[in-house]
Assembly symmetry: D3
Homo-oligomer: 320 residues x 6
């Protein structure tokens, strides 16, 4: 007698897969996996971090006098690995079309080549982000500490790489790279978002920045800030309309404190300061300071019981 009814479950799972494939109108064709792989992209990004910052994020035994050897070798390896993933994305997208593999591969190569040439610019932008964090946080001890420790900087390394891929027609690779940072930091920046230099996200957990957001230079943002869409228009057929500008424009030198929610295609004018937890669905002029309108709490008479013993009216938001 077998311990588990493995064969029956295997058959049932095959049945569910079959239903899914029919629902998705997919033929059951022999062959291997045709999707980009999260693990492969994670490794590409790890390598590119070392390429961009060899003495700080590269291999621990690297020495300054041989930086260029390392950078060249690692860059070449990372680009070829990225090229393989780019081919997978483009072939996957073209899987229903009569597209020529050679032509797809040429497009993949062109995209990765263009990406590779943007790396020096990306490094420059990231340097400005690191400096912005160092200058904006009284607790920062050095620029190196910022690069090593700050989740906001990690998220921006991923974003600036992902954004290039997004621009170059590889949105799935871009999205995977963004989600790797999201998992590591709790910061969720859509690769489509356009972000100027010297951008600083402090603490970061819960930050969400949408696909069509445009952020200027020297902007500062704290944890749990949302730059979101206000509504999702649908077309006559009831389908979501894609690609419409629907997220905020944030001009240079704006500061947005923790928990603020800015929704829709509004503009925060240059130098505006948005206070913590502010809820905002309209534009704000340059230099404005937006704060909570009213004090939002009520103090009641002291409770004499210990909080641990049956406070009958405590308002809890714990999900316990």
């Amino acid at each position: 007698m077998t311990v588990f009814h493995v064969s029956e479950i295997v058959d049932a799972l095959q049945g569910v897969r079959q239903q899914w494939r029919e629902l998705q109108r997919r033929a059951l064709e022999p062959g291997g996996r045709d999707l980009p792989a999260r693990e492969a992209l994670a490794e590409v990004v790890e390598t590119l971090k070392g390429v961009l910052f060899p003495m700080r994020l590269g291999p621990p035994d690297l020495r300054q006098e041989s930086e260029n050897f390392y950078v060249g070798h690692a860059l070449d390896a990372a680009l070829h690995a990225l090229l393989a993933q780019a081919r997978l994305e483009l072939r996957y997208k073209a899987r229903h079309a009569e597209t020529d593999h050679g032509e797809i591969d040429a497009r993949a190569l062109a995209a990765v080549r263009a990406f590779s040439q943007r790396l020096p610019v990306i490094r420059g932008l990231l340097d400005s982000d690191v400096l912005a964090a160092f200058n904006g946080d009284p607790a920062a001890g050095s620029v190196d500490e910022v690069l090593l420790c700050y989740p906001g900087v990690l998220a921006m390394i991923h974003h600036r790489l992902a954004h290039e891929l997004y621009r170059l027609g590889l949105p799935l690779l871009a999205r995977i790279i963004s989600e790797l940072a999201h998992a590591a930091t709790g910061i969720d920046i859509h690769p489509g978002a356009q972000i100027g230099s010297a951008f600083f996200i402090d603490h970061g957990t819960g930050v969400v920045i949408g696909e069509t957001a445009i952020i200027g230079e020297r902007v500062r943002v704290y944890q749990a800030v949302t730059l979101g869409a206000k509504r999702f228009p649908r077309d006559a057929a009831g389908n979501l309309e894609k690609g419409l500008p629907r997220h905020p424009i944030v001009e240079d030198e704006v500061v947005i404190y923790a928990g603020a929610t800015i929704l829709g295609r509004v503009t925060l004018g240059r130098g505006a300061v948005i206070g913590g937890n502010v809820w905002l669905t309209e534009s704000v002029p340059a230099g404005a300071h937006i704060t909570q309108a009213i004090s939002r709490h009520e103090v009641r008479a002291p409770a004499h019981e210990r909080p641990g013993t049956a406070a009958p009216d405590a308002i809890a938001t714990g999900a316990a």
Copy 2:
């Protein structure tokens, strides 16, 4: 002379452990570890992901024509590994009782067998979740992208597996599996929560769903939504009462936008829409739209200084 006073510290740590054991009334008995292991469950879940979605989350070199071989082998291995962990949980719970090991092991086997037979249903539910994400997000390029990238889908894979184990009397295994997803996504769903098909969590960081929550079909939830308890009743002896229904009931096709907080055993009626950051402790009728009652901010005169230079009255919520 030794570099560190290791022996003294070892003795002192033994003293603290001894105090703890006395406090917990635990005998110091020889023997190995008697608790389920996070690493082992992580591997079980990784394998089950491949069992459920072989061509997308299984081994990269898998080919469609041998899916069933892989599924059968991986399933058998995962179930036996899960069985070992289930025994540990049940034995641990019975450690103070005079329970027969044979009987405990039989219960573990029955639970894992029942779990295994639910896998096809779980796969079907997860397919509905993937479709819901694809249909609900204008940025989603394909169902495969959704399965590969979306943290909300990852959290639901863990939840739907964990919920079965919770139902089958293995709440500690269930909790570990949920926390694995919490760590990876920032989405904290208690394995006790009952969630219908086609559930979509977008962005997800900060979502908390409590143990007795009941969620219908085709519900959509955004980041930082809490479905929590309002208060924790205690019994006459001052101990927390366990197991009482204390979290919201969310009916079919409800949408809850980011940051909304719903507390207590309230009901959100079918098709209700809860706006962002809403704070809600009472029930809502079907079809209601709940939004912020008032605009919550105050615009003051533009500040002409750069934000980086001593804005004397900026309200910061950064913890820096």
Copy 3:
């Protein structure tokens, strides 16, 4: 013909690095990496977890009768590894000074020795945290479950270790250890924060606790609570003033529910209860119960459309 223009990109990247080094006034000197390593500290912390809780977080095959052998061996290894990192931090800080390496190394040794002798106290504090979680959460099945599963406990293990290093003059090591917990739990506690015994963070995602916060005993905190700074004073030269007390003081037995934001050097008196989502920038007397001042929502007429079909006025905060 080469596939990628690797040499050109290598040169361009070298140019950007050169600019950075000039900007930072760093000489290009041969040599290896001079910064502490995140991976090395992650391993130190993993080992110390086993040292503190050998039968629950130590190696799976450990047996109780040989706990002390394991603890002694692992402790010695962890302390030497930590010593190496401490030297790196102190040498890095002194890199512009004419400091003697021997003297720096002696300081590193003294710091790690002092750290090692605090471990029994740390274990005692962590035991109190575990008990607090068990007593404060109706869903907790056992103290062992709490230690294995609760992200709040994981964050406190890291914090209590990091706080000692911070106190002993190793703030960079401390920060890296804190960020390791932040990445794993979404809980961001600055290593400078002083936290009394029996501290319980439930759920935890999005919690931020600032550098100069002081928290008493038996305090309870839920997800997304911020104990932050209200403003960042700058000195005459426009630089941020460092080290000023700028975060809240939380007295014994306070409870702060999810999403509450407490800013500035205010005091929450003993036993105060702060309701969910409260925004607070002033002190609160002992025993006070602070709740939302008003109901914050508006119920409108039921919408008859399916939420999925073009609700023209839904207020969305999703960034999709």
Copy 4:
């Protein structure tokens, strides 16, 4: 100043590589490695061992009731990995020719398909080898011990797989597989050698069996036996003639004891027994017993010194 003159050495090494490529008349063309990989083949063979003997050489957690699932999955993976290596060998061989890649790949596929269909026969032959070892060695405790421990059996697993590949036109893959066994056991069997069922090599270190050797059924061989070539004929141009039959034919049930050397295209008749250290360059009739012709030593008067103290005339063969 740099520590090592890395750039100069890099240039010098490039110069030597350039000389080699000129000597070998190889163009310097961009591109990746074009040779089969030892590591990849090692993994293929490891997997095939599990396919052939699932419960004894397969994964430790395999269970008998799901053997077929494992065998199917592992076999499919191993065959595809082998196919990739087969393509590399065939393309490498055709690198100077105008061969079509498609045609080469078809040949690789045909070869691996044919190989795959021989696996049941190979398993049967290996069973006979295991039984031969068990029956021929008084120290063997069980057939399972033989399969787990005996280097001669390991060498035959590799040989029987390698010989099929050799026969199917993949001699380089075959050779790599043979050398993997040679490294592990000290037994060097050329993949071209034809070996009948129930072959037993005891101890094995130093055994060498040449490319054109033909060995019958139920043959037994001990350590350091050579079945070699007597001379290497050269053609008119002075080049070695390849492929000529130049190694012994060993008929059924022959036994060859340790250290015996048999050279040239001689025949050892059925049932012959060749004594230890015999040197043989001519054929032997069926049933013959060949032993040392004479006693080969000379006893001299006892030496009274300890061997450790300057025995002036000891004949040493140590290389110390």
Copy 5:
């Protein structure tokens, strides 16, 4: 169409396994693997090496002042792992009998306990072996070099551990440990062989020492020496008789040079010296020096050809 006919091959392989099981009269019963595992024993031996020589073969970061902590922890882990393997061997042996698992496990425990108490004696013997190598080899620079580099010492570590297990009724574990050394060194010592202190094997490749060999103290042996059996007696039924003394007795201070072959239950008297390549099947008195009886070569007239060009009568033993 599938690439390979995997299902057919899976069925055919199942057929061959079925034949084997019938031949071996094994029932097809569900269940996991029931044999000791080579990998597990390799890890046990690696750990025991560190236990025996902590500062030289233990973990690289070990420090002398905490040796005992390491030794205790590693010893406990290794003994429990060994106990698990011992149970497997004893249960396997008893698989056809009606033996009680409890009783078998008690025997396994007794054996491993007895083994553990022999470790200090084993360390002492190995120290004598190391010194013997240092004193016997003019090329040895230090005792530490000997322990780190000499394959003969590695083989003796394995042998002295394996011999204890053999004596304690665990011959299969012993054999696996011996074969691990055989694979690494080319030295094949049966775990049954009894070997006195200060034994030195130089170079070692090809050494074979049989099960019933008895070797005294301060014996030295060079590469390719065989201490073998002369014949294998069979009983009336034609089966090999097991356990008979059939290998040489080598008394104290004997030296045996490279390639010598000593066969049968002969005795080499104290202090005898056996020359290289000697073939010996009879006893030798104490102090005797045995050398080659005659010069074994014939010098012919110089050949004027290059050896690479068709020397028509070269006697080759290469298998090429």
Copy 6:
């Protein structure tokens, strides 16, 4: 009750270590390991193989157009790792002397620098070895196959690296590197041996070449050949005299067939051919052909029994 008496055994082992240290007159001083590490050198050699043959033994994803980047990076890493090991050897040797660490480190650096500059020459020599194997073996299909598969080539890569280190005063590192090859191939070449270009070892198992051997150019050697010492002179005090020339000189273009044993400081003249199994302790003129003096076997009447059934007079050398 504990399972094993770990504490007692730990104490007993400490006692044996104490005896050893007293015997060796070593003080018990705190501190870490002071010996070079086999694993570290294994990694250095693996990296240097890639440096020497980047496209064939380097990383599988390397591409020809970025060879130099890889070579530079890998070389720098390998040299620094080797430098660390060189310091360990030199400090270890000087551990009883009053030597200045700075001076020792300078010597280590000088040695590794000199080593690094020999790498191009070593590559050239290895190319000649590869060609010699290809030209000398009728079974060799290509020079690439030779580099990938032939154990003799692997042994020579190790030897040529080790020999440089030996010459530069690092004999312990050299010995470890040689033993790594010995373990992998069964070929034991002392790093002191001087070997000219185009050296070919076929099959190789059992080859032993001693410390003071001198081998010319274009020499060929088969398996189990020994170039050893004839006797070990001792000085007046009875100690082995070290460093005396005691192994053969082999002139250009000599061929030595399998199993031949050449002992002592004899000279094999240019172009000599030594037959298989020849035993030689005197010099041989240029061009001589040395073969077995006599046929060494005796054919007896055929035996009619099966070899498996009690052949009463079979001469076995198996150790079974």
